[in-house]
C-alpha cells in the first residue's frame, strides 16, 4: 500500500492494509506462544529478535497508513483535529 495508490481502490486498500497489519501481529503472537511453550535458549533468542522485528514492521505499517490518509485533504484535516484534541487532553 502506498500513499499514491491508496484511493485507486479503497476496498483493495483496506484488504491490503488488513493483511499488512495482521501478518506481523500473527507472527508476534506465534513467537510469543513459542516462548511460552519452549524454554531453550535458541528459541528464546530467535523469538525475541523476531518479535522486535514484527513490532517495528507494525509501527512502519501504521506510519504508511497515516501517510496514505494525508494524501486526502479532508482526511488530513480530520487527522489534524484529532491530534489537536489529543494534545489538549494531555
Amino acid at each position: 500500500m502506498t500513499a499514491e495508490n491508496c484511493h485507486d481502490d479503497p476496498g483493495e486498500m483496506i484488504s491490503e492494509l488488513a493483511h499488512d497489519l495482521k501478518t506481523p501481529i500473527a507472527a508476534i503472537k506465534g513467537f510469543a506462544e513459542l516462548l511460552r511453550v519452549r524454554d531453550d535458549d535458541a528459541t528464546r533468542q530467535e523469538a525475541s529478535v523476531q518479535i522486535l522485528e514484527g513490532a517495528t514492521r507494525l509501527s512502519d505499517a501504521v506510519d504508511e497508513l497515516l501517510e496514505a490518509f494525508l494524501v486526502d485533504p479532508q482526511l488530513a484535516a480530520g487527522l489534524a483535529r484529532a491530534r489537536a484534541k489529543g494534545a489538549r487532553a494531555e
Binding site: 500473527a26 503472537k29 506465534g30 513467537f31 506462544e33 523469538a47 523476531q50 514484527g54
Partner: protein, 135 residues
C-alpha cells in the same frame, strides 16, 4: 513439506514452529515460480501455501500443480478471514486452510489432518454470499 510464503517473519515462525515435530522442511519458496521449481526438484509430500504471493495467488499455484498431475496434499494459509476462501481453496484442489493466527496448535493439527488425507478447512471463513462465486 514445502512452505510457500514470501513474508520473512512468517517463514521464520513456521520454521521454528515445525522444529521438533514430525514435519521436515524440504524447502521454503517465496513465490509461486520458486515453488513450482522446488516441487519438481525436491518432490515434497505436503504443501503449505500462502494465499497472497508476489507473483499470483496460492490457489492458482495449487490448481496448476493439480493440472500437472501433482496431487500432494495442500493447505492454504491466509491472514484475513474471507468469504468463500474455503470454497476457493477446495475448488483449486487444496485439502485445508489455516489462518495466520499465530496458533501453533491450529497450524500443526491442520497439517497433520491434511497429511493424513483428511480435509481440514478453518470454519471461521464465512461461506460466500448466495449467488456469488468463489474468490
Amino acid at each position: 513439506m514445502l512452505v510457500v510464503e514470501d513474508d520473512a517473519l512468517v517463514q521464520s515462525w513456521i520454521r521454528l514452529a515445525l522444529e521438533r515435530t514430525e514435519f521436515r522442511l524440504a524447502g521454503v519458496a517465496s513465490s509461486a515460480a520458486e515453488a513450482q521449481e522446488l516441487v519438481e526438484r525436491r518432490t515434497p509430500d505436503l504443501l503449505l501455501v500462502d494465499y497472497r504471493l508476489p507473483d499470483g495467488v496460492g490457489t492458482e499455484l495449487v490448481r496448476r500443480l493439480r493440472q500437472q498431475g501433482l496431487m500432494l496434499p495442500a493447505m492454504m494459509m491466509t491472514a484475513n478471514l474471507e468469504a468463500g476462501f474455503n470454497e476457493a481453496a477446495r475448488e483449486a484442489g487444496a485439502q485445508g486452510s489455516v489462518l495466520k493466527s499465530g496458533s501453533i496448535d491450529e497450524l500443526l493439527s491442520g497439517l497433520r489432518a491434511v497429511a493424513a488425507g483428511e480435509e481440514a478447512f478453518d470454519g471461521r471463513h464465512p461461506e460466500p454470499p448466495p449467488g456469488q462465486g468463489v474468490l
